[in-house]
Amino acid sequence: MNTVTAIDGRHASAQRLRERVFQGATFAAALLVLLLLGGVALSLLIGSWPAFAHFKLSFLTREIWNPVTDQYGALAPVYGTLVTSFLALLLAIPVSFGIAIFLTELAPVWLKRPVGVAIELLAAVPSIIYGIWGLFVLAPVLQRHVQPWLIDHLGPLPLIGPLFHGPPFGIGVLTASFVLAIMVIPFISAVMRDVFETVPDVLKESGYGLGATTWEVIWQVVVPYARTGIIGGIMLGLGRALGETMAVTFVIGNAHRIGSSLLAPGTTISASIANEFAEAVGDLYTSALIALGALLFLITFSVIAAARLMLLRLGHRALSSV
């Protein structure tokens, strides 16, 4: 009798030990996720400190970027990042919206899955492939056919005209925005599709019951119901576009200046880092590039956090692959 209790006691304490070890391991791993984000923020802060201490606020307001005289300002890359992302969204939103509508409301059942998977595969293609494709295929096409047309027809217009002045380089801000747009389309449309699918059928059916056309149901029932999710999805796409590196690096032209024309070469934060970091000599140069990274982190973190909060409030979790 005594031996049985003894064995049981040993067994139970061994079990308890394993339980504590396993539970501790899962908790530690979960905490590590928190630490990662903290560590990223901290290391960027430490790394960028010399640059910020040296240039103070002028780092944010100057366009100059000269490794020879060790003068750095973030204005050109920040401007390039914001403009390319904004243009990319402008192009991507209508297309993504159309795809999401097609997938949820229009496509026959047998077509839904293959088309949906094909669009998701577009999201799985690595960004460097978009870059090499953009440089060798898209840029020449834009240079020969699209940009001359833009220069001839939009260039003379007042207000927006100056955006389309200058020679058609092929590579530049506009091409980068175009490639970015193609990249974010699958992300935005995947979230939009998921959000559209959360709209209760009863709501749509009451719309149809009143004699509404498909479009009227989409525009007056589905879209208002899914508004928060749509905005969240768009901001998630914006987060992608802001931080995208390789696709942009190939086609933006890497010129540290703010051109008035969208056809001129420019640069973005991530493209500057990708191009210059491994070859950067001197502490201040390296630190200035890390400072650019810190700015990018700040911008994308706010956008992504806002997007995630919106999607979270919706009680909806976007695709795991996104």
Binding site: Q15, R16, R18, E19, V21, Q23, A25, T26, F27, A29, A30, L31, V33, L36, L37, S43, G47, V95, G98, I99, I101, L106, V117, A118, I119, L121, L122, A124, V125, P126, S127, I128, G131, I132, W133, V137, T213, T214, W215, L236, G243, T245, M246, F250, S270, F277, A278, I290, G293, L296, F297, T300, F301, I304, A305, R308, L309, L312, S320, S321
Partner: protein
């Protein structure tokens, strides 16, 4: 025009445009794949898989780059996979309702969309500066950090799909939670977790930006993970932007190899999911 015809017209126009949008999306996928096949296949030969990356002007292959990519992806997933699975387990089981879990889920979602070049900068500060030089292990750690949030998310989602009744039955037998998790829940969610790992592999094997200043590149064969190592994405980046035709050809072939592998992985992940009982994501 009557109001009815007008409404019908608007409807047809809007739906037509949405079909057009889908066609545009599919067109770009097709265009990219066609370019890759058209430009990449010409360079596919046995030497591609048996020779090292060449100096400009002479012939060669991508063996060291393919090897390096495989090594770093494998190490990356070996580090990131288990950590992600454990964290996902915490979120789905032990800490399902804990307040800290809400924060962790949110932070994980942010990490999931964080720019990968920032992860590269982080690992540069964390490892490359300390070690004093670029290394394959730094590249692998950067990839692991990118793989973690993907694995956390899919693991949590998949564990949540396991019916509560199965967990209750195990608990009723007197099993401790760790026993329930490892002997009942993990096996039940096996294919889902596997899918998550496949997606994570697909995600990290094409990553370029975080490798640029962690693993860097190496023109020669190296199996030393403490030294710079060649890898497909960075080789594609350097070779594609070079003026040498043989390098550009290798870049296209490398791009084709990497894309085909990733598409196969992504499709495999979907096949695994659709074979799940009741899972049709």
């Amino acid at each position: 025009m009557s109001r009815r015809t007008f409404r019908k017209l608007v409807n047809a126009l809007a739906l037509g445009l949405s079909g057009l949008a889908t066609a545009i999306g599919l067109f770009f996928l097709g265009a990219i794949l066609w370019t890759l096949i058209h430009s990449g296949v010409a360079g596919i030969s046995l030497t591609l898989f048996t020779a090292m990356t060449p100096p400009p002007g002479s012939s060669g292959g991508l063996l060291n780059a393919i090897y390096g990519s495989v090594v770093m992806t494998v190490i990356g997933i070996l580090i990131g996979g288990p950590i992600g699975m454990l964290a996902g387990t915490y979120l789905a089981e032990y800490g399902r309702t804990a307040r800290i879990s809400t924060v962790i889920r949110f932070v994980n979602d942010v990490l999931l969309s964080a720019p990968s070049i920032i992860i590269g900068l982080f690992v540069y500060e964390l490892l490359v500066i300390r070690m004093g030089h670029f290394s394959a292990i730094a590249g692998a750690v950067a990839l692991a950090i990118i793989a973690i949030p993907v694995t956390v998310r899919t693991t949590e989602d998949m564990l949540n799909l396991v019916p509560q009744g199965m967990k209750d039955a195990s608990t009723a037998m007197g099993a401790y939670p760790w026993r329930t998790i490892t002997s009942v829940i993990y096996p039940a969610a096996r294919s889902g977790i596997l899918t998550g790992l496949l997606l994570a592999v697909a995600r990290i094997s094409g990553e370029t930006a975080p490798l640029l200043f962690t693993a860097l590149n190496n023109q020669f064969w190296s199996s030393n993970i403490a030294a710079p190592m060649a890898n497909l994405p960075v080789v594609i980046f350097q070779f594609a932007l070079s003026p040498y035709p043989n390098w550009q050809q290798l870049a296209w072939s490398g791009a084709l190899i990497i894309t085909v592998s990733i598409l196969i992985l992504s499709i495999a992940a979907r096949v695994v999911v659709s074979s799940l009982p009741g899972g049709n994501r």
